[in-house]
């Protein structure tokens, strides 16, 4: 049997990778992908703790996190498309000034 701490360490490493991606990469799509990595790390934590407690609550919360992640990915990508139409660039630094 696998100790709970192993799952938590995997989840922590995944979350760190996601955070690093959000901070270090200068490409909208990669930033959104890193956010998805972070959400998945959190899902793993929920399921692991839920299994430890013996109920289905962990899985239910994961269900809601997945739904919210889907909604957020859809809206985020729509915003990226809208931004691309204005500046033809996927670099967040191209949108650093308020004037067009």
């Amino acid at each position: 049997m696998i100790p709970l701490s192993h799952y938590l360490i995997v989840s922590a490493v995944l979350f760190t990778i996601g955070t690093a991606g959000v901070f270090l990469r200068r490409n909208f799509i990669t930033i959104l992908l890193s956010i998805e990595i972070m959400l998945n790390a959190v899902n793993l934590t929920f399921v692991a703790f839920g299994r430890q407690q013996g109920g289905v609550d962990g899985q239910i919360i994961v269900f809601f996190v997945m739904a919210v992640a889907a909604a957020e990915a859809a809206v985020g990508l729509a915003i990226v498309i809208g931004l691309y139409r204005h500046r033809e660039s996927l670099n967040p630094d191209a949108f650093a000034s308020l004037k067009w």
Partner: protein, 178 residues
Amino acid sequence: MPETLVFYLLSGLAIGASAIVIGQRNPMYSVMMLIASFGALAGLYVQLDAPFVAVAQIIIYAGAIMVLFLFVVMLLNASRENAAEWDRSHPLRQPAVVRFGGLLALLLVVQLAWALLSARGLAGPVGARGGAETVSSVRVLGRVLFTDYVFAFEATSILILVAMVGAVVLARREGEGS
């Protein structure tokens, strides 16, 4: 023993694929590597006696959200040549900032490791209390979802409706009719 081996394989795949996602210049490859990472996570959920969550992960994340990402990458023709140049011209890449940030990241990792290793109750194996049958039963999941969490369920459906309308409105070209 084979259980531990499978766990190490799957978690290694998940972590390795995620590392490639953030390191890869070509967004198309990033998306494909993330799909691999999601598949590995689904395997981990199966090991945690959560088959419904594993299948939902494949259907929702790997089967729908990633297709959406793929469409956007293809639509915008996200170029791969500029990625390296953009990362180099990162405004936060000055040496002092990098050193300070590195120190903070190291502090974060040390804190996480200390927290995980010194907490009590985490050393026992997952599932020591048994109950694999109840936890993996979809019937129980459905019952709890529609009785204890029904308000969150209905709110989520409204959220998805709002997101759908929002995505359609935001991605429309300006000046289009109704």
